[in-house]
Symmetry: C2
Subunit: 275 residues, 2 copies
């Protein structure tokens, strides 16, 4: 039976592309929000869930970080890094010079700013809830309009691709994670993601615990902080390190960190994406 | 002459409240975006600009961080911390049981989730571009509707306040910063914000530089990372430390950090907000 994989929908989003690359045979189940995907996995509706976690231009997807911090029984099993290629979609027989309105998610509009200013300086830019929703907004528009969305959204909606690769920065990539009820066994080139916090704010505490990794030559791939939601200035730190949580040196460093923190949660160990 | 202060508008937003608290005599100039406020200050249209930088539930306002990283000639002169109180606004003579649609910015809808589920389980929640825009969306709605917005938006729009303080978490506060062409002189209880990055990714580099502060007993109030926009895994670190950039120990630590980083930018030193 095909594996049930929940993802941030609707069909036609970049996350759907990531799921198809992860598992071409999957039984795809779109959910309207990142917490929805997480709950689908935690409750068993789906065996795996795919959500974006970080974009090279926009930074972290905070909904995904907050889910990993707060939702029990959810682990990262895999990461995938996909290039993001934005396209300009129009209804059949639309003339470029007629376009008066361009719809997309604000992040996508922002990522195509130069293209829009040079090619459509007079068009009105209108925010949609997602790149997939932008295509629907375009179809319902009374004025000649266009939508910025992934290439696949054109096929799904029977509309035309007027331009491809219209993003300003060609190094626009998004990292996705596959969530499941367990993480992955060691492969030799792994990554481990975890979060921790301190009961009290003391000068140098973060420095001390990062030293547990530095001393063992464990590469710190990422450091991030999220609000604890208790009070301003009270943070949860999220780190990605190279190595698997079962590697002896990583295990030792994490145990040393655990003894100095008030909370520590391992999101999982999984193979590092090979660029 | 009244000081010209740009802020993230329109009138009725929480940022307008912050400007009024910062300078009740200011000549208020609303701008539609955070980059717009920054440019107004950098170009001299306004002498100061006020933007949100961090919320205790949602985390950093990444537009503000990116502006501080990239815009030259812009400094933080002051910080203000304001409690965020959401209200439910309706058109005069609306009956609670009639409400079918509730408009607000997605962050505000998220911050009032419990209230909405308990009191309006059947209402449709619709995203608006800002809490101020939500009031306009409500006024134009064909169906009986409500908007979640600040109290002041009710006065400005001649609508009624049906409920106050409807946010789930009473510790919901937002930190705002006042941007200007210079920062503040030392007061004895200051904070300094800066960013830096490394030319190469080496295990322990972040640990080493944080050691410059730990060794001098300088409290690290915040650590954050933002994408460099070059490639995934290439970060700019943002830190807030206690002390003024002219304090001898802070100055020494920053110089030591500068010698180890490929880029370092000081956003400014300013008085710490007294809770």
């Amino acid at each position: 039976m095909a594996r049930r994989v929940a993802y941030l929908g609707p069909p036609g989003t970049f996350t759907e592309q990531a799921v198809r690359q992860h598992n071409p045979q999957a039984d795809l189940q779109p959910f309207p929000s990142i917490p929805g995907v997480a709950l689908a996995v935690a409750s068993g509706i789906a065996e795996e869930g795919v959500v974006p976690i970080e974009n090279s231009l926009e930074g972290s997807v905070t909904d995904t970080l907050d889910i990993l911090i707060r939702q029990a029984g959810l682990f990262i099993r895999r990461e995938l890094v996909l290039p993001i290629e934005h396209c300009l979609l129009v209804m059949p027989n639309t003339t470029t010079s007629d376009i008066q309105v361009i719809y997309s998610h604000p992040q996508a509009l922002g990522q195509c700013r130069e293209f829009l200013e040079r090619c459509f300086p007079k068009a009105q830019l209108v925010a949609s809830l997602s790149t997939a929703a932008a295509v629907g907004d375009m179809k319902e528009s009374q004025l000649p309009s266009a939508a910025i969305a992934p290439h696949r959204a054109a096929q799904l909606n029977s509309v035309e691709v007027l331009a491809r690769g219209i993003q300003d920065n060609s190094s626009n990539v998004t990292r996705f994670v596959v969530l499941s009820d367990s993480d992955s066994p060691p492969t030799g080139t792994d990554k481990t993601s975890l979060c921790f916090s301190f009961a009290q704010d003391k000068p140098g505490l973060l420095h001390t615990v990062l030293g547990e990794f530095a001393r063992r030559d464990i590469n710190l791939a990422k450091v991030e902080s999220r609000p604890s939601k208790q009070s301003l200035g009270d943070y949860i730190f999220l780190i990605d390190i190279h190595g698997h949580r079962e590697d002896p040196d990583v295990k030792e460093a994490i145990e040393a960190l655990r003894s100095q923190s008030s909370m520590l949660k391992i999101f999982g160990s999984y193979p590092r994406w090979a660029e």
